[in-house]
Symmetry: C2
Subunit: 317 residues, 2 copies
DNA sequence: TAAATTTGTGTAACTGATTACGTAATTAAT
DNA sequence: ATTAATTACGTAATCAGTTACACAAATTTA
């Protein structure tokens, strides 16, 4: 299919499905060629039964990697053909123990030649290929087992998004956005408080002039996140991480992490030994983020904010 | 799946299906990750429309390799979402011309990042494999296009069957089977005739003693096919190929071909220049076989058999 | 130009799987 | 000894595709 060369590998699912169809297409005819009265979809169940002794529905399902209803249905069909027999386990009345009948075993014998020929045909086909499909499938199964495609894509997305994010120092032109982003989340979850207005209306005087810093995250040039590092008059803590806000429309772009990391780096470069922050446990993503950065829960600090129900600190190593 | 390592490659269809499922599984979540309101199964149609201009249902189906009802249904669903619009072709009232709406084009734009990330994720995954799945699929598509799996299996079956066939010279103990196999087919299609009895009841006197030969095909030691090379008193022909019979239960095992080839070889080794045969056109497989061996239709020879309606000869080169 | 064939499309039924759910039997926990 | 949780498995609904069929429009043939 030329189509797939255009789409790129995104379409690997579709392409796999079509190859599967093509390979499967002939299966029924191949059974006919050998005069074997069997449906292709029975094969895994049939094969599994022909190997060991009797098995239960669930055991079969696990062995061949199908769901149990699928096996249940297949067994029902094979039962009609007289290839298998069911019997209830005496020790455990739930279990349906299935085994091949004589007729089934006869088919198992007859099918051997077919298996040999199909195997040989595929082997010969494979010999003409540079890339071994069978082995490639095995490798994919293994790698997807370790990490799903979704996870892999998420990582790529994060990488790409991060590359678009630039963290810059505060300039007066960002005062507007610094205020707006913070007002947005505070008033969504809580009420604006006296201390909020002080800092947001006058970051220059309230934060920067007192030895603090503000960083702004630009996503493709647009300011979508802010965070402040406020100088504390405290014997224990040097700075407070505060007024962190990321635009809802930039969620999932890793901006929060990059911003907070940059703030921590900033503190480190200023020789800070301990950073403090206040938050609220209903802000789960934020708390998770702080955790990821190494912040630990502490208690007992007095705070001007009523919304604060958790306090954390980061010891800079 | 360990299971597949046991079954051998016969189960490649099943195994492919399961990998397809696993790869496809995450697709819906990936769209969600990018806030794209689209079903994975729409992708091929969507992509195809996003590339060129408007297309008809059948054009789309051909482009992406689906059946047209499948495309028809998908377009119906995308229509509801407002991603596409339909319009009847004025020049050809049967054609349903489909194109992306503005909303659709917007999604096409939004989806670009996703395509990049998925491609990168798969590329990275592939880099960890020895055998390239994408390329392997391409090679299989190409090879199956040239010759289906069924054909390949048929060839392997023929090879294996042929290896089990042994062609041996006539011995008196084969007289019974020589007679029985011939009576079987003759009386199925025609009536036994005077000349038949002469040859079948006394092959020694009627065929062998007059300088003819009989070959017997053994399939796993069991005599299942016979053929005679009868010396002719004729200025043109040296021998007649006759009394060829293969047991119905050995059909499809290539016995006829091996037997007739051996007879021709025999004639050649005896220095024959031309072989003659008589048959009937209702025996299609036999006529095909003679054709394959190089026999050509001739006419005008007198014959004792009423069932003969075709005469053929082979010029030995 | 009428009749036969081909083409484009939609609808219905089927297929081989799945997930969702219900129920009975067993096992674990209090 | 109940009660709760787990397990085995069957039935029903769903899913993403297919083939089969019907029908109208266009094209080819006689």
């Amino acid at each position: 299919m030329d189509f797939f060369e255009q789409t790129g590998k995104v379409a690997i699912g579709s392409r796999l499905r079509m190859l599967t169809d093509k390979v499967t297409e002939d299966a029924a005819n191949i059974y006919q060629l050998y005069n074997i009265d069997m449906q292709p979809k029975w094969f895994p169940v049939f094969y599994s039964l022909s190997q060991g002794e009797e098995k239960t529905i669930t055991e079969l399902a696990k062995a061949i990697g199908h769901s149990h209803p699928s096996v249940s249905k297949i067994i029902g069909e094979m039962l009609k053909k007289g290839y298998v027999q069911e019997s209830r386990d005496k020790a455990d009345g739930r279990r349906n123990v299935v085994s091949l009948t004589d007729a089934g075993r006869q088919v198992a014998y007859k099918i051997k030649d077919q298996l040999i020929d199909v195997d040989a045909a595929i082997e010969e086909l494979s010999a003409q290929t540079q890339n071994k499909l069978w082995e490639a499938i095995g490798e994919w199964e293994f790698l997807l087992e370790q990490k799903t495609l979704l996870r892999r894509v998420m990582e790529k997305k994060k990488e790409r998004d991060s590359a678009k994010v630039e963290i810059v120092a505060y300039k007066p032109e960002y005062q507007e956005i610094f205020r707006a982003l913070n007002v947005e989340w505070i008033s969504t979850y809580f009420e604006m408080e006296e201390s909020d207005y002080k800092a947001l209306d006058n970051p220059q005087g309230y934060i920067l002039d007192k030895g603090g810093h503000i960083l702004v995250a630009l996503y493709e040039g647009e300011p979508l996140g802010v965070c402040a590092l406020i100088k504390m008059n405290d014997e224990e803590y040097d700075f407070e991480l505060a007024k962190m806000a990321v635009s809802p429309k930039a969620q999932g772009k890793n901006i929060g992490f990059l911003l907070a990391s940059a703030i921590v780096e900033k503190a480190k470069s200023l020789g800070a030994a301990k950073i403090y922050l206040e938050s609220n446990t209903i802000l789960k993503p934020a708390i998770n983020l702080y955790h990821k950065l190494g912040f630990k829960k502490v208690a007992g600090k007095p705070t001007p904010y009523t919304r604060c129900n958790i306090q954390m600190e980061l010891v800079i190593g």
